[in-house]
């Protein structure tokens, strides 16, 4: 199911109804954009590696859902968005909160994405978190930055995202909403209800499916009856694209195709990004996941690290020299084996500062537990 030939076959299928629209938005990327994409991949990886280590040392509360090996989906879907577009990431997408609109400048305080520091403050459960750490990990949002607050309930943000998309239509605004889900979550009623509504009204809603082959301990065949998860789109008469989730530019091209289509009022799309979950469902599951998935499957699933896939492209396209490509090599390695030396200094600096900020932020005071059950200014 994850073979490259089926990916290619479906690609042509899915876009046979295109309106002479380019599937190669990548051609418009400048060399500097490519280097930025690579930096973002590094940052997402470094963030995950750092959290895995912190978690192992018992410094973090809650569960880490590693995004290792799935970073190209986040960078590729987010890179081409406009600042006014909205997103709703899931549990596995922690880096998405800072990757959004990162192109506007990592340290640009006005960019429409969270700072790495804010995200770290959330992970460390500190007062400086955007939600004062009142809910855990990925359940953060910002109306100002266009990030929908999610709950734990898988797929529940799809109807909410459809509502945001409806508001765009109502306000005559051509922004789009990207909502992320695992392949397992596509079995939920909210997935159907939300996309059905969005398709009826041709809302600018794009559903990114991170098909990492596993939903906790259940393989995709037991979650979804169609050959590809993207086939679910047929029931709504909307495009169901398949992207190679290890290839950041393929993800980028498919996303931009769907985004431009949505901006023109043509309605929603589903983009299935084929990938593989590198570790356990959460860090608590790392050991068991070594048993319910066999070694061969894991090795195959991790054999196409998104960083090396991209580097290969860059070198072939002469956007990066082989020497530069080899300067930092965190790819194809286990999280616990990579060290700071494997990442470029600007990536290390960005996270170091953010973690220091998070660690130094105080915990919220206990009295806060009783606040904000209802809107306070109206009381």
């Amino acid at each position: 199911m994850n073979s490259e030939s089926s990916v290619v076959a479906k690609q042509t299928d899915a876009v046979s109804d295109t309106e002479s629209q380019s599937l190669r938005t990548r051609d418009q990327l400048a060399p500097a954009d490519h280097l930025e994409i690579l930096r973002q991949l590094y940052l997402a990886r470094y963030f995950d590696v750092r959290l895995i280590k912190e978690k192992r040392r018992g410094r973090l509360r809650g569960t880490l859902y590693s995004s290792h090996n799935q970073e190209a989906i986040l960078v590729g879907t987010l890179f081409g968005l406009r600042p006014d577009d909205w997103i709703s990431p899931i549990h596995r997408d922690m880096p998405a909160f800072f990757l959004k609109d990162m192109r506007s400048g990592w340290n640009n305080p006005d960019r429409k994405g969270m700072s790495v520091a804010e995200v770290c403050a959330q992970v460390w459960g500190k007062e400086a978190s955007p939600i004062r750490a009142r809910d855990n990990w990925s359940h953060i949002g910002s109306l100002d930055k266009g990030i929908i607050y999610s709950t734990s309930m898988l797929a529940a943000t799809i109807p909410v995202a459809a509502g945001v998309a409806f508001a765009f239509k109502l306000d005559g605004q051509d922004s789009v909403v990207l909502t992320y889900n695992g392949e397992g979550a596509t079995a939920r009623g909210d997935f159907h209800e939300g996309i059905n509504f969005a398709a009826i009204h041709k809302l600018p809603l794009i559903t990114i499916i991170e098909n990492n082959q596993w939903a906790y301990g259940t393989p995709v065949e037991l979650e979804c009856p169609t050959e590809d998860v993207a086939d679910r789109a047929k029931g709504y008469d909307i495009p169901g694209l398949i992207a190679d989730g290890q290839d950041v530019l393929d993800v980028y091209d498919k996303t931009m195709w769907a985004v431009e289509r949505a901006r023109r009022g043509r309605g929603p799309s589903i983009i299935e990004c084929k990938t593989f979950r590198a570790y356990g469902h959460g860090d608590h599951d790392d050991d068991r996941a070594m048993r319910y998935r066999d070694a061969e499957e894991i090795e195959r699933g991790r054999s196409r690290d998104p960083i090396s896939v991209y580097k290969r492209y860059l070198v072939e396209a002469q956007l990066l020299s082989a020497e530069e490509a080899d300067r930092h090599t965190p790819e194809n390695r286990d999280a616990l084996q990579v060290t700071d030396d494997d990442f470029p200094p600007e990536v290390i600096a960005a996270l170091k500062e953010a973690v220091e900020f998070a660690v130094s932020s105080p915990l919220p005071e206990a009295e806060e537990a009783f606040r904000w059950v209802f809107a306070e200014d109206a009381e």
Partner: protein
């Protein structure tokens, strides 16, 4: 004003709700209505009649049969600065949107440290006595009263229906709004309603009948049952004070306490089933703040712990009755 003119202006419960929606839609261009069959049809009961023609399909949205998406989309719209009124075709079907209400809308303000307010009203027809059977008779407000972050409202008169709906729409919090469908078109329950900025603030009970011998605390359709029981009690020289709490959350404990200080006896009446119904919560609170005020053990009158059956003899057997309320009050008074 002549009697005929006054008569002409008297509004039933349904018209009062309809007027509230029209007036609020007119007043606030950011208000959107969503629900099943609310536009072209004008609502299963007609509460949303005329809205589509007046405000168009982007503000009066005929939704697919997707309760979860209806509430979810309302949350999304509210995140973009809209106010939303959602209709549940029958409040029984609210269970299909339950997760979005209790896990998403109810907790949003809390989870966002006060940054996100969701001004959403989820309204719909509720209650039994119409032969609706298990899925068209529920009074399931306790589910939502049990979910911090939601306000819960249940008007018993046309003017309250209008004033409370308008106040609910303007409230910055999600509100679950129970309309009593048995009252929608009841001929003997009509009222003249003041024009203009008429609001009934949430969280304020009202005394429907004054009395000194026993306090009867209730809301919704049961208010009318209790008033009938009070008339019969009066024939026995028992003066019942009937309190209509009007909003379940937030609850006006003060009005209840003041009354019990006077009567020292209390009966609590709700239409929902007994175990963990809101009557139980009322009794618990009264016991906590007023145990020493009471001269008799408090009593509640509720539906039996059964679903609401369909045919008349069965339905009547499980739902509260005027007789039952009368007897409960006599028991408390005679204790």
């Amino acid at each position: 004003m002549s009697a005929a003119a006054a008569q002409a202006q008297a509004k039933n419960y349904l018209t009062a709700l309809k007027d509230a929606l029209h007036e609020e839609m007119e007043r606030d261009p950011n208000l959107v209505c969503m629900g099943e069959d609310i536009g072209i049809l004008g609502g299963a009961f007609g509460v949303t009649e005329g809205l589509l023609d007046r405000f168009g399909p982007l503000r009066v949205v005929d939704m697919p049969i997707s309760e979860s998406a209806i509430v979810g989309a309302a949350i999304g719209l509210a995140m973009r600065g809209k106010r939303v009124v959602v209709e549940m075709q029958f409040i029984d079907f609210i269970s299909c949107g339950f997760d979005q209400i209790v896990n998403n809308a109810a907790t949003m303000c809390y989870r966002s440290a006060g940054k996100v307010n969701l001004p959403i009203v989820i309204r719909g027809p509720s209650g039994g006595y119409g032969g609706g059977g298990p899925y068209h008779s529920q009074q399931n407000e306790a589910w939502f009263a049990h979910s911090p972050g939601l306000k819960v409202v249940c008007p018993s008169t046309p003017s309250d229906a209008k004033g409370l709906l308008r106040a609910s729409i303007r409230d910055p919090n999600p509100v679950v709004f129970y309309e009593v469908k048995e009252l929608y078109r009841k001929r003997d329950i009509v009222e003249e309603i003041p024009d203009g900025e008429f609001l009934v603030p949430l969280g304020h009970a009202t005394i429907r009948r004054e009395g000194s011998d026993v306090t009867v605390v209730t809301y919704g359709n049961m208010v009318h049952f209790c008033l009938k029981a009070a008339e019969r009690l009066a024939e026995q020289d028992v003066q019942a004070e009937v309190i209509d709490i009007r909003t379940i959350v937030p609850l006006d404990e003060e009005t209840i306490r003041t009354s019990i200080e006077k009567t020292n006896r209390v009966v609590v009446v709700n239409e929902a089933s007994r175990t963990c119904g809101f009557a139980g919560e009322l009794l618990a609170r009264i016991s906590e703040f007023g145990f020493e005020l009471l001269d008799a053990p408090p009593v509640r009158v509720t539906r039996a712990d059964t679903p609401v059956p369909w045919v008349k003899p069965l339905e009547s057997a499980v739902l509260p009755s005027v007789d039952g309320i009368f007897e409960a009050a006599m028991k408390v008074v005679r204790y």
